[in-house]
């Protein structure tokens, strides 16, 4: 009986707070994505040859993010029936966008206008209850191209 109460409390907490947190997180991601337009993220391997030659710097951004309890239970249920686990899709989406955002913010701070050869790496960090994925880490990295100071005019 006590177990059931604890379970239901956790479920309700996960549902309420988790949902609120996700909505807030998405709002902040959308706002910040609109804020930084300048460092373009390009997964191309080699930058085009340009004159004047830019300086390069390795930039990265990472985020460790956890799924809430309600979604963990939902995903476990989905595991029985098969099909898309939308609760994890939004988790991964949020993590990737946040990691890319952090990378871009750092590149922006250096005065970069492009980031080339962007790679994304995803790792599962911990197992939650019943062996489900609890938290994931996304690491984004690439090379920022910083145009020389005397050639800052937009092309």
């Amino acid at each position: 009986m006590v177990d059931l109460i604890v379970f239901l409390t956790l479920l309700a907490l996960g549902f309420g707070v988790g949902r609120y947190n996700e909505a807030r997180h998405y709002r902040s991601i959308l706002r910040r994505e609109a804020l930084y337009k300048t460092p373009l993220v390009i997964p191309e391997k080699t930058p085009p040859p340009t004159v004047p030659t830019p300086k390069t710097h390795l930039v990265s951004g990472s985020v460790v993010i956890s799924v809430d309890y309600f979604k963990q239970v939902l995903a476990a249920l989905r595991g029985i029936f098969r099909g898309r686990i939308t609760s994890y899709e939004s988790l991964l989406d949020r993590a990737r966008r946040k990691a890319i955002l952090r990378m871009r913010e750092r590149a922006h701070g250096m005065g970069a206008n492009m980031i080339f050869n962007v790679k994304l790496e995803t790792t599962s960090i911990s197992k939650g209850s019943k062996g489900n994925t609890g938290s994931i880490e996304v690491y984004a990295y690439g090379t920022a191209l910083i145009p020389p100071r005397d050639a800052m005019q937009p092309s």
Binding site: N21, K45, T53, S62, V64, S66, K119, S126
Partner: protein, 105 residues
């Protein structure tokens, strides 16, 4: 020392290839023991402490790689890649590798 994950350096020429240089660090990352992390596993959200921990570990791995590149006389490391693998329960290895080169104008 120039670190880049491009294969070339804009405006510079690779004069000499010195081979692969790796750098790695193994960190414990057991989230289950951490109270805040346990809470976040219920409520959802970012685990700021772990983001910082892993960031710091990657910087350390990068440092090891740079040291090695310097010791063999390189002045840049190109084509850098990061990789993470879980070695044991609750521990992760953060690995970074690239090719050490000598660049000149």
């Amino acid at each position: 020392m120039l670190i880049s994950n491009l294969e070339i350096v804009p405006g510079k020429r690779v004069r000499e290839h010195l081979g692969l240089v790796p750098g790695s660090t193994v960190r414990a990352k057991n989230i289950g023991r951490d109270f805040m992390a346990g809470l976040k596993n219920i409520l959802g959200g970012e685990l700021v402490g772990y983001t910082e921990l892993l960031e710091e570990a990657r910087q350390e791995a990068l440092g090891h790689m740079q040291e090695q590149a310097r010791s063999i006389g390189a002045n840049a490391v190109l084509n850098v890649r990061f990789s993470t693998s879980s070695v044991a329960q609750g521990a992760a290895e953060l690995f970074v590798y690239g090719s050490a080169v000598v660049i000149a104008d």
